[in-house]
């Protein structure tokens, strides 16, 4: 009947594993979990552990017996231990309650959608573009001059974008530190590698202010490039971004938004 690890050790291991995932793995693959949310995740994990423990009579018994023994002080050693536990647990509760209230000045971590669903069509410089209909960028159709277009895109980039997105296209331009959210890192697999060229066209032409509310347009420093660049120049810089980073544009026509994180 008693197979494997003692149940208390199992619970502890589950808890440690969960905390490891929340505080190390998640921040590593995406972004750190904001404080309040973190608390909820831990509480959820505790609930799951409780469900697991109470799932069968046997495991519940195994779990509760030592607690019961302690409460009833069944051995001589248990008596002083019970006194200690009875003093320490209320103090811990008190400490937790009061520090939680004095939580203080951590601003609520807003959840910003990084890649919202694009509009179905955009008006750029008086011309209407139905994004779904653009499966590849028009300049790619002009294959004979593609290299030239890319070269022009490079110039566009270094006249306009590198202050923020950086020489190395990692979002570390010399002005990047003034902005929050930070300029996108194009080398990262989480940005243009996940997007299509028509999506980029929308984002570049309309900039930060063109984002929907869930993507906090008021915070984004991304300029509205239709005010500065021609339509061709926008397609050229897009081609340059994919060329220099080595990423492939995603070719797809529907439901681009992945909800971000």
């Amino acid at each position: 009947m008693r197979r494997g690890l003692p149940i208390h050790l199992k619970c502890l291991l589950i808890l440690i594993a969960a905390i490891f995932v929340f505080s190390v793995v998640v921040p590593f693959v995406s972004a750190p979990i904001p404080g309040q949310l973190y608390g909820w995740y831990v509480i959820t994990t505790l609930c799951v552990i409780f469900l697991y423990v109470s799932s069968s009579e046997a495991s519940w018994e195994e779990f509760i017996t030592p607690v019961r023994n302690l409460l009833l002080a069944r051995t001589a050693l248990m008596k002083p231990l019970r006194i200690v536990v009875f003093i320490v647990v209320p103090l811990l509760c008190g400490w937790y309650f009061s520090t939680w209230a004095a939580g203080g000045a951590t601003p609520p971590g807003g959840l910003r959608v990084i890649h919202p669903t694009p509009p179905s069509s955009v008006n750029v410089q008086g011309k209407r573009f139905v994004l779904q209909d653009i499966s590849v960028s028009p300049i790619r159709e002009d294959e004979a001059h593609l290299a030239e277009h890319i070269e022009k895109g490079r110039v566009v980039y270094y006249e306009n974008c590198f202050f923020c997105h950086g020489d190395a296209l990692q979002g570390k331009g010399h002005f990047a530190k003034g902005f929050n959210p930070p300029p996108a890192d194009f080398q990262d697999t989480g940005t243009i590698a996940q997007l299509s060229e028509s999506y980029l066209f929308w984002r570049i032409a309309k900039g930060g202010p063109g984002l929907p509310g869930e993507s906090t347009p008021w915070d984004s420093a991304m300029p509205i490039w239709e005010d500065f660049l021609t339509e061709d120049e926008i397609w050229q810089v897009i081609a340059y971004l994919y060329e220099i980073t080595g990423h492939e544009p995603r070719v797809m026509d529907h439901g681009e938004g992945d909800g971000g994180h």
Partner: protein
Amino acid sequence: MSEQRITRGRSVSALACCMGVGLWLFLSLLVAPIVNAQPTEADLEAGEQIYLQRCAHCHGVEGDGVGASTDVVYPKPRDFTSGVYKFRTRHETEDGNWLAADSDIARSIREGLHGSSMPGWETVLTGHQIDQLVHYIKTFADVFEEDTPGPELSFANEIPSSPESIAKGKEVFETVFECHTCHGTDGRGNGEEALAGLEDDWGHRIWPANLTKPWTYRGGSGRRDIFRNISLGIAGTPMPPFADPDPLAEARETDDPEEKQEIEALARELQENTWHTVNYVQSLWSYPQEPEVKAALVAKRVDGALPESPDDAAWQEAAVNYYPLVGQIIQEPRLFAPMTVGVEVQALHNGEEVAFRLVWDDRTESAPGENEEMETYVDAVALQFSSKPLSGMEKPYFLMGDASYPTDLWYWRNDPGDAVLTQTQGAGTFQVGDTAGGLVSQGQFDNGQYRVVIKRALQTEQADTEVQFPIGAFIPFSVTGWDGSNGESGGYQRTVMAWYSLYLEPEPSKAPIYLLLAGIGFGLIVEFSALYVTRKNHG
């Protein structure tokens, strides 16, 4: 070594040596093909390819510093045809040339020139590629063919930092080397010569470094970096060398022991003075590196009246948050070459009023029309808030809002020095206001630094159209600045930063004590009920 052995006739070891040398040659060809050796054609070609891919848009296809980005960065990308490199560890050559060693140039490429647009390339290029680039960019200037770098700078006789050494360093800074004529007595780059106008070798206006901000030292802020800059100067700029040519060179030539000793003693004194100065320069640092931006500015709650003067001792109690300021490059006309690096912000409140203290460095106290060559304006700063109460995530656009979400600017300028309330609906609508709107301010310019206090009541009567400050809530704020002598004015030409949060500390409440008691009570109830239930069922 190998020759000696051969003359002794030990042919075996001679053979071994020959093989060893052969192997060494072979390995060195494999492992380090171009370390301080003549680059091969292939290296130069590889270097050219990387150069065209990564560097030409700034430094120019011809290496002349004219590329796509040249007009939109300050300082300008280097013109490699000049052969001038700012940072080097080699003394003047016998022909009087200041030549950087390959390792110096490689380091600048690897680490970048801090505080300029020249990035560090170590995350993108391998050490080998960087060596190939070094060889390639040297081909732009003939001087590298005609001459070889001079003797290495010695970093001997280092003196660790101590209060005595710093005091001595200050003396040397001001009376022996006279660094203050350019860098100013507090090191903010505002010395007399700086204000009179310095130019670099290419005719561009140049400002001496602000020594209080080491993260803007182009060539790094290590002790040896500072020592190197003082000893050898910064080529192409007015910053002169203080130990070049090598003061010991003469000692090596003379046969007279007494003269030799004398020269050596002088050289040693120079080195020691330089190290004292390094210690002094480090003591001027406001922060050892650029501080991390904190998400919330906490306005501490104090009793009694809030300080009106920026130099009031009460400010020592308030937390200091540093925010970098960058050029407004989002809307036209853009500001590509800001002079302001960042601003320190503090806040205090007393339940009735809130006061902010803003501190930033500016080399010049500008007045309109003071410079005939370029338009100058007043120096100014503004705190920005949302004019309307906010709900949910929404905020005004961080560049002065828009029609549906206007912003309040608490605008202070050095002349006249009174803050006025300025409301904007986008940068195009910026127009300095004409009423104080309840703002009380005091500011001063002091040796290259502005310090300004602006305060107001937490609540005003126009609760829907002016910012209000609820206690214990997070209120978006940001700071924007105008450096008048850099041509900054109006809604566009200014330095900006993102929204961050202001938090007014609540009254030191009794809540934590109650909660402590409640927590203890909760723990006890749980325990005794568990005890009761267990006793009843199993006892």
